[in-house]
């Protein structure tokens, strides 16, 4: 009886270790969790880059919103530039697109925008306070917010394929 108990206990410990290891190996150890999905998007009021006017998230109440966090020094941000530009034009009548530049400076950003052009409003987050509020953990990151102001999800990778972007848009246009 005692022997059975000892063997049973040993097997239970081994099974627990295997379970923990399998769970650990199944996840990307460098992926940063994101728990704001399904929660209200934090409001903010920050300055536009093209003039001194400020913009608040609350200004767009009732509309689906796409927020793209980026920086001029970020290569993948430049890669996804044409996709976002295309999407902002395609969905101009259905959703609001906002770019938020953080961990950068105004001169760099203005120069970049003059050279490349952007088809949607660009805002400047000088102290990265909005980025921290949104749980940003890298660049670029794109947030999809539904018309009720709830964060549906975020994509922490650059968009390369427009079809992929369309699929994400469907989640907030419904």
């Amino acid at each position: 009886m005692k022997k059975q108990l000892a063997v049973g206990s040993a097997l239970a410990v081994i099974a627990l270790v295997i379970y923990i290891m399998a769970k650990g190996f199944g996840n990307d150890p460098h992926a940063v969790p994101f728990l704001l999905s399904g929660k209200p998007a934090p409001n903010f009021t920050i300055k536009r880059l093209d003039n001194d006017a400020t913009v608040s998230l609350a200004d767009f109440k009732g509309k689906p919103i796409v927020i793209n966090f980026w920086a001029t020094w970020c290569g993948p941000c430049q890669t996804e530039h044409p996709v976002l530009d295309w999407a902002a034009k395609k969905y101009a009548n259905q959703a609001v697109f906002l770019g938020i530049v953080f961990e950068d400076n105004e001169q760099n950003t203005k120069r970049f925008l003059q050279q490349n052009g952007w088809s949607f409003v660009q805002l400047f987050d000088p102290k990265s306070t909005v980025a921290v509020d949104y749980g940003v953990s890298g660049v670029p990151e794109t947030y999809f917010i539904d018309r009720n102001g709830i964060i549906n999800h975020k994509v922490a990778a650059p968009f390369v394929d427009p079809r992929e972007f369309v699929a994400h848009m469907q989640t907030i246009l419904q």
């Binding site: 940063v32 728990l35 950068d104 760099n108 990265s128 890298g138």
Partner: protein, 161 residues
């Protein structure tokens, strides 16, 4: 991962024309600033992962520390400040997992393992064979007594012949 690394690398290099190193927000008074630093030691940097926001040189970590400073200035409790980061990143944001819920197992597992080890040692020590008794030296009375073993009796009889 690559993106986070590129962010850290760029922030650390501070190359001209790239991301600037932001000045840190003004510190609070000594007591509250000490609390900010203590809290910062317990919160994980979102872009450098293995380092706390108090120890990381990354600009984004300093932005997170500024947030802690802002919350302390607003009079938030330690728990409310931890909750702010946990709400965004989950318990991953904490350098030490909480001692409750599922993570309680992480804290209890080593203790449990030690207890099992002690039990095994105790159990084995109970089964250890008793120390061997010193060999009895047959005395003269013993040699005179008739042996109980037939074979021994026969050997003795042969010797006496």
């Amino acid at each position: 991962m690559l993106l986070a690394l590129s962010l850290v690398a760029s922030l650390a290099l501070g190359q001209e024309g790239y991301t600037p190193q932001r000045p840190v927000a003004d510190p609070l008074d000594a007591a509250r600033e000490a609390r900010v630093q203590a809290l910062g030691k317990q919160l994980r940097c979102a872009v450098c992962q293995g380092v706390s926001i108090a120890d990381s040189p990354a600009s984004m970590a300093r932005a997170q520390l500024d947030k802690v400073r802002e919350l302390v200035a607003e009079g938030k409790s330690d728990q409310e400040i931890f909750d702010y980061f946990v709400e965004r990143y989950g318990e991953w944001a904490l350098m030490e997992p909480k001692k409750s819920g599922v993570t309680l197992g992480l804290w209890l597992f080593p203790v449990l393992l030690l207890a099992v080890g002690l039990w095994v040692i105790w159990n084995q020590s109970k089964k250890a064979p008793p120390a061997a008794a010193p060999a009895a030296t047959p005395g003269p009375a013993a040699s005179d007594a008739p042996p109980a073993d037939d074979y021994l009796a026969k050997v003795r009889a042969d010797l006496e012949k």
